[in-house]
């Protein structure tokens, strides 16, 4: 992945949080990523691995009192978002880069019609009359596949189903044709049929508008179907990056291998008649404010060697867009 073709480049991003003991600890630690227009980058990891923190850091949506950016840059259209004033950043949000959240049931203001909630974003970023903004919001609702958009625009969120609400949230995010869309587990709260519809919608619109998509998920099935490239995060760090095909053929990091290994494969089990118990990764993600000196995954790793607990392994890039942070990666593949 060459830098010139990227719409969003994150380099060396480090975000810290304030612990209850009043010490700062990193939740996003030296993360690099590139997204090209029309491309979907999946950011994958368990709960608490820092994927959402990464997304919130890029949009600068984290509460200022308990979080701070401690180095790195976020380049969007030649501008470094980390150096913008709050006011300038506000103009970027929802305009050049927007976000779809996890919970469609609570992501919308219950007291405002959905049409107005879409129009609000347009009115904020564009010099446009209220009537035109309203018309545009109806068009957007049509675009995200809502039938009778002119009628539904006057509905309140409680009158719509979860799938429809998530479409509204997507319509809000797309209102100003952003260059980048960050979708933070957009389908976790939806059932499987709706999930496919919503992801297809994001995929279609991505091509149509030519935006880059960062798809945050823990569902490798979703990754296999919709992402062109994959980035695996663990304990706030990027541990592996690859294009989707390479990744699924041969994940290099033990954590990635373990993640893939724990995907249930009912078809294979039915074929072989062997119903093995679900594979799980032993242990949990360590608390980010209590990390030791070595690799954060070492405690749970099946391939741990003496060197693993000595120092945090560097992320070694073997080719553009292909790399891994594991000292034993060479021996594993």
């Amino acid at each position: 992945m060459t830098t010139s073709s990227s719409v969003l480049s994150v380099r060396g991003l480090r975000t810290e949080f304030l612990s209850s003991e009043k010490t700062w600890f990193p939740v996003v630690n030296h993360v690099d990523l590139e997204v090209a227009p029309g491309e979907t980058l999946a950011v994958v990891g368990e709960s608490g691995c820092g994927k959402s923190m990464l997304a919130h850091s890029v949009l600068r949506l984290l509460p200022k009192k308990i979080s701070r950016l401690q180095g790195g840059e976020v380049l969007l259209g030649g501008r470094d978002l980390t150096t913008l004033s709050d006011e300038k950043m506000r103009q970027v949000r929802g305009n050049d880069i927007s976000m779809v959240f996890q919970e469609p049931m609570t992501s919308l203001n219950p007291l405002m019609t959905v049409g107005n909630q879409i129009a609000e974003s347009i009115l904020e970023h564009e010099d446009i009359s209220t009537a035109d903004a309203t018309r545009r919001s109806v068009e957007l609702m049509d675009l995200v596949g809502i039938s009778e958009p002119a009628v539904r625009a006057h509905h309140y969120p409680f009158q719509l189903s979860g799938g429809l609400r998530q479409r509204i949230v997507i319509a809000i995010a797309l209102a100003c044709k952003p260059k980048v869309l960050i979708a933070d587990e957009p389908t976790t709260a939806l059932d499987v049929t709706i999930q496919a519809q919503v992801l297809r919608l994001i995929d279609d619109l991505k091509t149509e508008i030519g935006m880059g998509v960062i798809l945050i998920t823990h569902d490798l099935g979703v990754v296999a179907e919709w992402a062109q490239r994959v980035m695996i995060m663990y304990a706030g760090r990027k541990v592996e990056e690859a294009d989707a095909e390479t990744f699924f053929q041969g994940p290099a990091h033990p954590y990635s291998q373990a993640l893939l290994g724990s995907v249930p494969r009912p078809d294979a089990q039915i074929d072989s008649g062997d119903f093995a118990p679900l594979v799980e990764i032993p242990g949990t993600v360590p608390p980010l404010n209590k990390l030791g000196p070595g690799c954060a995954f070492a405690d749970r790793c099946a391939h741990r060697t003496a060197g693993c607990t000595q120092a945090v392994p560097d992320f070694i890039e073997v080719a553009p867009g292909r790399g891994v942070a594991c000292i034993n990666a060479g021996d594993l593949s």
Partner: protein
């Protein structure tokens, strides 16, 4: 829409009738539990407490009748909105009450606006500026005014602003004997209103401030606030358009319930400030054992509470589209 709302209020009040009826019955017997009657008070004051005189008074007011006869005749009169006759004032209870109603409505209305308005404002500020000096000061102020007795606040305000500073009159509703035009007399009443309204609103303001802060903090932590931020609208707009309206609901609920409590508070404040309203009238009639008058005031209060609650319900539907008006009627 508005017609539907009006019909809803009407229906609610209709459903409130049995409640009011029950309140009237309970009150009728409750007030008679107090020792002594109007005859004793009147006789005591005239200084001629002969048995003969007292019997005469009781006969005149029907107090010599058995209790159930008194009750039945009271209820019969009430059906025709006849609240009876005040022993003390020698006048129709209804005309006495209506004379005083305006003053109390004014006092309560002003206190309501002040306490709800400032409660919402201060609570919202305390939530937005959470864990800052400003927020802490607001919450300390709220706790202090919450813990301070109404009458004490009233007396202190009189001492400071009337006696020492001389900014406001100490009591009454208007300057006596001042020949004024409409606007001047309105201004005069407003001038008299400041201290009583402030005293009455302090406690409730504290209540609403605390409620609003809690509700606002909760609302600000919700997902749709994050969505609003992600849209790139300004902080001020996020608060005004998204947080405030959602946070305001519990305050509205509480304000509706507190109308009746405020009526009780106005008894104290009206006594302290000599405000010629229903509270003062109730206070006086209690000591004069002027039971008809007292019952009349209670009756009116119960109607007021039922009507206010219906109105608050309608206000909900204006603020929150999720709440629909549905009367307990078959096709409603």
């Amino acid at each position: 829409m508005w017609l539907a709302r009006l019909r809803y209020v009407f229906n609610r009040v209709l459903h409130g009738l049995p409640i009011i009826f029950a309140i009237v019955i309970v009150n009728f017997f409750l007030v008679r539990l107090a020792p002594g009657d109007a005859a004793q008070v009147l006789a005591g004051e005239s200084g001629a407490a002969t048995e003969e005189y007292m019997r005469q008074i009781r006969e005149q007011f029907g107090l010599d009748q058995p209790l159930y006869v008194q009750f039945l005749s009271y209820m019969k009169n009430l059906l025709f909105f006849d609240l009876g006759y005040s022993f003390r004032h020698g006048r129709e209870v209804s005309s006495l009450i209506f004379e005083r109603l305006g003053a109390t409505a004014l006092l309560m209305g002003a206190s309501m606006v002040l306490s709800v308005g400032f409660g919402i404002l201060l609570g919202a500020i305390a939530a937005i500026k959470d864990r800052t000096f400003l927020s802490n000061m607001i919450m300390i102020l709220a706790i202090v005014s919450y813990a301070t007795p109404l009458f004490w606040v009233g007396l202190m305000l009189i001492i400071v602003f009337s006696l020492n500073l001389g900014w406001f009159p100490t009591s009454g509703i208007a300057t006596i004997g001042a020949p004024l035009g409409f606007w001047d007399s309105a201004l005069d009443v407003a001038h008299h209103l400041v201290l009583p309204a402030l005293s009455l609103s302090f406690f409730y303001m504290a209540l609403y401030t605390r409620l609003m802060r809690a509700s606002m903090l909760e609302t600000l932590g919700q997902d749709f606030i994050k969505t609003a931020h992600a849209k790139g609208i300004s902080e001020g707009q996020v608060v005004r358009k998204h947080a405030l309206r959602n946070a305001i609901m519990p305050v509205l609920t509480m304000a509706g319930v507190q109308v009746s409590a405020m009526l009780g508070g106005s008894v104290i404040i009206e006594s302290v400030f000599g405000w010629p309203g229903l509270g003062l009238l109730a206070f006086e009639s209690l000591f004069a054992r002027d039971l008809n008058l007292l019952l009349g005031i209670f009756f009116l209060s119960s109607i007021l509470v039922v009507v206010t609650n219906a109105i608050v319900d309608v206000i909900y539907t204006i603020v929150d589209p999720r709440i629909q008006l549905r009367s307990n009627t078959r096709n409603g």
